[in-house]
Amino acid sequence: MAMEHARRLDRIFAALADPTRRAILARLAADEATVNELVKPFRISQPAISRHLKVLERAGLVSRGRDAQRRPCRIRAEPLAEASAWLERYREFWESSFERLDELLEEMKAERKHGKRGKR
């Protein structure tokens, strides 16, 4: 289970490592599109776009519509959320610590003010 999860994450990150695939995802985040609609703005061949889409599909980042003619591509949000959970964990540890530090700093500032006034 854990290994399967790791492999899935690796596929997601490998898919995201390529600038063209990131651009395709950014385009699909705006609206679904067919392969032909993707060929135009990217100015690369249709087979090349199809290859990138396959990688994205295998990573679960993109799904294809059932309409036999158009088969529009759509972005899928869940795998992206899973990927962002990775950095989120690290962030949480520190953010939770830093929130406590904020409180401490407020006290330190108040004490400092108080101390200075006391000396006058």
Binding site: H5, F13, R22, S84, W86, Y90, S96, S97, D102, L104
Partner: protein, 164 residues
């Protein structure tokens, strides 16, 4: 990065993690909070965790030893040695965790503007593998690749999503 209280975490290259955070206090105070054990005990570690061991010998070549204890009694220990100390702007230390292999170099830089301090911490791990192990501690993930571009990617995608 104008907002106080927003922690940014990103990977840099394949061995580094960079954290940025703004504090609403002058950097002398922030620097003090990072070096004095009695202050560290009041903030270091997520809520519910306590710093049960906190020994700091704050001089170049001096060491530190921290042990955090979680709500379930789980302990996490770390130790290190200070390499460079330039109060209140910069410090560099080496650190290692009891439970993970390798030693990482931690550089903290504090810049002050209008009474607020921007803290930038760069952690350089001995290898990409160690970085990923540390980053995923507590997660159920196994093997790892280098995930460098993630935050950039998520940013791009989020942007595209909002401009749509």
């Amino acid at each position: 990065m104008k907002n106080t209280g927003t922690l940014q975490v990103a990977t840099q290259g394949d061995r580094e993690v960079v954290m940025t955070r703004v504090f609403d206090a002058p950097r002398e105070l922030v620097f003090e909070a990072f070096r004095k054990p009695e202050l560290l005990k009041r903030w270091f570690g997520p809520r519910g965790w306590s710093l049960v061991v906190c020994e700091v010998e704050f001089r170049v070549g001096g060491g530190f030893r921290f042990v955090l204890e979680g709500p379930d009694g789980r302990k996490m220990g770390m130790r290190g040695v200070y390499r460079e100390i330039a109060p209140p702007e910069r410090s560099v230390h080496m650190e290692s965790f009891d439970d993970y292999p390798g030693e990482s170099q931690v550089t903290a830089v504090m810049k002050e503007q209008d009474g607020k301090t921007t803290l930038t911490v760069t952690v350089e791990y001995p290898s990409a593998e160690v970085r990923d192990i540390v980053l995923k501690s507590g997660m159920e993930h196994g093997a790892a690749e280098s995930y460098d571009r993630l935050s950039e990617v998520l940013g791009e995608i989020r942007q595209a999503g909002t401009t749509a």
